[in-house]
């Protein structure tokens, strides 16, 4: 069921992952995703919903994955843990974690990886916790699946983790049910569970989207501290550019199931190579600057169906689009700190600032 990896489906893609990981100066890649393609079953057979996505994360590195809903960010994350929903499957590419290809791994191997090498945290902590059992017991159970320890030891491991997550009154909260905890506390419990197996990589998919501004900041600060203390790598999926800017040093931008830009986070946001990144940044900036009740929107919508391979997927919404953009799939071009799949990366040089 896995398609053979063609020699080099898009030469630029390897440039993207190569250049993307280079600036962080991390010698060895903890995770290396190459040419990942994910298909969804439909009435007309399988169609790609994520196509040819490549990126790498070095040990201890933080990479942000941004894009609108429907860009394929979440599916990409789920593929890392073999968590794709029924009817959706990886049909191409490889997911190398410490050299093992997870795309080919058995369910048994994946079970060891999930929570073991990769910890996952999702948007809705309420849905991630079992409403019928106390949160402390749930955490202790996770600890026991990763370590050969008894119940009493698991309990103390869980309490220690809760302390590490800055959960006050951990002994009281150990017995609490999820509905008794606030959203922020529930997310702290979920992070504790994700870290119970001492993973090297934390995959966090919109971990603070459901939280208000002060709780969001507290959770982000917690993740930052845990990263430093545990030398933990981070793959952060977010639609908030300020959050990506705060938390990550590398950025990957996805659009309609494809990766369109790769580079250092600060550079990508300050001087976007791809017009889509530019549009996202302008939209996000307009919220901070607008005083007249109007924000900058990106015209059009993310295409719902399958993106075409013979032209730029963003062209219909792009202010720079030319005939050339729809004549072929855009090659990867070097940008300030990475690369972008666009033939107009040099636009700023030609016509100055917009």
């Amino acid at each position: 069921m896995t398609l053979p990896q063609s020699d080099s489906p898009a030469p630029g893609v390897s440039a993207a992952s190569g250049q993307g990981t280079a600036p962080a100066g991390s010698g060895h890649a903890l995770l290396s995703v190459r040419g990942l393609t994910i298909d969804a079953g439909g009435r007309d057979g399988f169609a790609p919903i994520v196509r040819d996505v490549s990126f790498g994360i070095g040990a201890g590195q933080a990479l942000g994955l941004i894009g609108e809903s429907g860009s394929g960010k979440t599916l990409t994350c789920m593929a890392l843990g073999g968590l794709l929903p029924r009817g959706v499957r990886v049909t191409g590419g490889e997911i190398l974690l410490n050299g093992t290809d997870l795309a080919q791994a058995s369910e048994r191997q994946l079970r060891r990886v999930r929570g073991g090498l990769i910890g996952f945290v999702f948007q809705d902590p309420g849905a991630a916790l079992d409403p019928l059992s106390p949160v402390g017991a749930q955490l202790a159970e996770v600890a026991r699946t990763h370590q050969a320890i008894g119940r009493a030891r698991a309990r103390s491991v869980a309490l220690k983790l809760m302390d590490e997550m800055e959960i006050p009154k951990a002994r009281d909260r150990y017995r609490a049910y999820p509905h008794e905890l606030s959203g922020g506390m529930k997310q702290r419990m979920c992070i504790a569970m994700a870290l119970a197996g001492n993973p090297r990589l934390l995959v966090a998919d919109e971990p603070t989207t459901a939280l208000d501004v002060t709780t969001e900041r507290a959770i982000l600060d917690l993740i930052g501290r845990l990263r430093a203390e545990r030398d933990l790598a981070l793959l952060l999926v977010t639609h908030s550019l300020p959050v990506a800017a705060l938390m990550t040093d590398q950025l990957r931008v996805m659009y309609a199931g494809e990766m369109v830009e790769a580079g250092g986070t600060a550079d990508c946001l300050a001087a976007p190579g791809h017009p889509y990144t530019e549009a996202l940044a302008e939209s996000a900036r307009s919220v901070e600057r607008s005083r007249d009740g109007r924000l900058v929107a990106i015209p059009g919508a993310v295409p719902g169906g399958v993106a075409a391979t013979d032209r730029c997927v963003f062209a219909p919404r792009c202010p720079y689009a030319t005939d050339q953009c729809v004549a072929g799939h855009p090659p990867w071009q070097p940008t300030r700190s990475g690369s972008a799949a666009c033939i107009h990366v040099d636009r700023a040089r030609k016509d100055g600032a917009r």
Partner: protein, 283 residues
């Protein structure tokens, strides 16, 4: 059409705690018998004003918004709409009062009836409030409203489940403005949405405000958004207004430590370079 000013005067809302539901936070498992969601809040909204309510979850923003449209009766204090007590208006002229005061919620997925087509959902209040002369007229107006909020009139025959979150929120907006309210409360209406969709919803509200008179309450925990859309901002903490003033004033020179804390918590984008550099490419 005249737009009512809203006057909230010393309003408190207390929720009684049901027995048998212990709360972990607060003093011990028992805690007090009642929780004050709003504590002696007074605020006047001018006609045509957009007021933002900001604060953390539990600060009372939603309770205040619900109280203003009459969905939550104050435990004490009163709310005046156009100079008349809201409680009295609801008793004597319920339907018309409901029409004048509209609210849009955070999750349009749960505020729209899943088995009612979008067109019917918008037509229903038009019939209820006798704004439309007939069923056919109501459906025709619903199609116009859909166009106004940027959806195709053909989407009238679709169900909420067929639409994206942003599209559903547009339907909720169309439904709320269909009855030409004087006061519109927007409770975290863009929280679950992408930046670009959020921008379009916010712009749609700006268009609506410029076309018809409206007094608006915009509830959000995003301080940037509050500043972008509002004339004045009220900062709520634990049921009390701790700071209120001109939007730019409150955020650029916050006086209350809580406002400063909210502001410091909000991540911001680093500034782009003023001048584009020689070229983006670096070999």
């Amino acid at each position: 059409m005249t737009v009512a000013e809203v006057s909230v005067s010393r309003v408190s809302v207390a929720f009684r705690r049901r027995a048998g539901i212990p709360l972990l936070h607060g003093p011990g498992r028992r805690g007090p018998a009642a929780v004050a969601a709003l504590d002696d809040v007074s605020i006047d909204l001018r006609r045509h004003e957009t007021l933002a309510l900001v604060g953390e979850s539990g600060s009372g923003k939603t309770t205040l918004g619900r109280a203003i449209v009459g969905l939550q009766a104050p435990t004490s204090g009163q709310i005046l709409i156009g100079g008349q007590p809201l409680a009295h208006l609801l008793r004597t002229d319920f339907l018309r009062t409901r029409r004048r005061l509209q609210i849009i919620f955070q999750d349009p997925g749960s505020s729209l009836t899943p088995w009612m087509t979008v067109g019917k959902a918008i037509a229903e209040p038009l019939l209820k409030h006798k704004i439309a002369a007939s069923r056919a007229d109501a459906l025709r107006r619903a199609a116009e409203l859909l166009e106004l909020v940027g959806l195709s009139p053909a989407s009238a025959s679709r169900y909420p489940g067929d639409l994206s979150g942003g599209q559903r929120q547009r339907v909720a907006i169309a439904r709320a403005i269909s009855v030409q309210p004087e006061v519109l409360v927007c409770d975290e209406i863009t929280s679950g949405l992408d930046a670009s969709v959020r921008a379009r919803i916010v712009n749609l509200l700006a268009d609506i405000r410029s076309e018809r008179p409206l007094t608006q309450v915009f509830i959000t925990h995003d301080l940037h958004l509050a500043q972008a859309v509002s004339h004045r901002v009220a900062v709520l903490q634990a049921g009390r207004i701790v700071e209120i003033g001109d939007a730019a004033q409150v955020f650029e020179h916050p006086e209350h430590p809580y406002t400063r804390r909210l502001r410091a918590a909000q991540p911001t984008l680093p500034d782009p370079p003023e001048q584009p550099e020689e070229g983006p490419a670096r070999q």
